[in-house]
């Protein structure tokens, strides 16, 4: 039982770390429309995504594992797509810039040649189609990871402890949120600034060290988590 918990925690935390790399993050330059991507830092958007995913997963508590995991993933995807959609609306109708990025010439999904639409002196603005799709993939991976950790901790607690349902959900939420906080910041140190999703050149350079480091930190955290949960059950 605890071995299964360890494995699912490691898989979940590593999936969160990989998912962060897929999200198109623009940081502060994107808030000034001088860079493409979501106009905030990677840790902030990932923590928001994680909270929404865990909230969605905890709303179907008591159902089977698969449903909880899928609900979490869908919750994260809804959150991130709403964020990107309204960011695009503000960029197009408020700021008045077209959605384009200079990191790639042609959008592979729409075939739209965006070179002429990037303002001189900037690296793009808004979230182009391929980055939008990449953000959805990232949110799916992050949501699956977070709700996998949440549901596995919850199931172990509810099978072995005499606490009420609310307390079990609270403890599982605290643990899975802390995974998001730590792993997302590690991944964003690896990204270092802005990234435009999986079609970006930077993604290919950064994904391998990112996966390795997220795996390492998730192994350490998962061992500590399993130890704490073992202590809560048998201590």
């Amino acid at each position: 039982m605890l071995l299964e918990l360890l494995i699912s925690l490691i898989i979940g935390a590593t999936l969160i770390g990989i998912g962060v790399h897929f999200i198109p993050v623009g940081g502060a330059p994107a808030a000034l429309s001088t860079s493409a991507g979501i106009p905030t830092g990677a840790p902030m958007i990932t923590v928001g995504m994680g909270i929404t995913g865990i909230l969605a997963a905890s709303s179907v508590i008591g159902q089977s594992d698969l449903i909880m995991v899928l609900y979490g993933a869908v919750g994260s995807m809804i959150m991130i797509s709403v964020t990107m959609f309204f960011s695009n609306i503000i960029h197009v109708f408020g700021v008045g810039v077209p959605l384009a990025s200079s990191n790639f010439e042609k959008d592979p999904l729409t075939g739209f040649n965006q070179e002429g639409y990037v303002s001189p002196g900037t690296t793009g603005h808004g979230i182009p189609t391929i980055s939008f799709v990449s953000g959805l993939i990232g949110a799916f991976l992050g949501g699956v990871g977070g709700s996998l950790a949440f549901s596995s901790i919850y199931i172990v607690l509810s099978n072995n402890l005499q606490y009420s349902l609310v307390v079990n959900v609270t403890i599982a939420t605290i643990f899975s949120l802390l995974l998001f906080f730590i792993v997302a910041v590690m991944a964003s140190y690896n990204i270092g600034g802005t990234i435009q999703g999986f079609y970006d050149e930077k993604f290919r350079k950064k994904i391998l060290p990112g996966t390795v480091s997220c795996f390492l930190i998730s192994v350490i955290l998962s061992i500590i988590y399993v130890f704490v949960i073992w202590g809560l059950i048998y201590g």
Binding site: P43, V167, T170, T173, I182, M186, Y189, G193, P209, G235
Partner: protein
């Protein structure tokens, strides 16, 4: 940045020893809450002062994220410390063991940052350990104010099982990272940043002492102390800001015309 008037080593030493002693004294009936307030103010000062040093370097993402990650690390070690002390049945071991575990995890994180991400900052490990310890002491003293004791079983009942620990975590992130984020720049000054940090700490303690009305009848004294402390230190912050500004001009509300005449 101007030279530091209080060296970081002295702040670290005073905070770790004084903070631990204050946390161990929180079982005393009315004095306990005051000791918890003292410990949280000391921890806020240590966290912000360390962040001032490491925040000058570019880590690839914003300043708040360092504090977010290290506060999460501190919370993990806090929970581990609770479980260890419950398992060994020794209450006094809980603050000490959490401190040691926080130092170990944050050292591991900083080694990963150094060797895999190639972040070349000499003071990285030291700063990470120091911020993690500071946020751990801050969260611990805030939760002892609510739980009225540092006993792990009481903390589990009053702080963790109702999920208040997440609120305490976000509050401690706010106390540590907000002052440096607000004051950073070329003429950032130690006294100004730290006075804002102490003011923020008192502001959070006002809310926490209102929450502690569930567990203690002395909550009103803690609240009065926190409000007075917030007033004194925020006033100090405003005075330092005025003192260090190049010039101060007052404007009224929005001008009706373009202001040409």
């Amino acid at each position: 940045m101007a030279d530091d008037l209080i060296p970081n080593q002295i702040i670290t030493l005073v905070t770790i020893i004084g903070g631990l002693l204050c946390i161990y004294g929180t079982n005393i009936s009315i004095l306990g809450g005051i000791l918890a307030i003292v410990a949280s103010i000391l921890a806020a000062v240590l966290g912000t002062n360390t962040l001032r040093h490491v925040g000058k370097y570019s880590l690839g993402t914003g300043v708040p994220s360092i504090v977010y990650m290290l506060t999460a690390v501190a919370l993990v070690s806090y929970l581990t410390g609770i479980v260890v002390s419950l398992y060994l049945n020794q209450t006094w071991i809980f603050p000490l063991i959490s401190l040691i575990i926080a130092a170990i995890i944050s050292l591991t994180v900083s080694e990963i940052c150094k060797h895999i991400f190639n972040i070349q900052i000499e003071i990285l490990s030291k700063s990470f350990i120091s911020i993690a310890v500071a946020s751990l002491l801050l969260m611990m003293s805030m939760s002892t104010l609510v739980a009225k004791s540092y006993e792990p079983s009481l903390i589990i009942d009053n702080v963790i099982n109702n999920g208040m620990i997440i609120f305490i975590m976000i509050a401690s992130v706010m106390v540590i990272q907000n002052p440096y984020n607000a004051c950073m720049g070329p003429n950032e000054d130690q006294y100004r940043t730290l006075s804002l940090s102490v003011a923020n700490g008192f502001l959070m303690l006002v809310i926490l002492s209102a929450i502690s009305l569930l567990t203690t009848e002395y909550w009103i004294y803690y609240m009065i102390i926190s409000v007075i402390g917030w007033f004194i230190f925020f006033r100090k912050y405003v005075l330092y800001t005025k003192h260090q500004a190049a010039s101060i001009r007052r404007y009224g509300l929005w001008p009706i015309d373009d202001g040409d005449d």
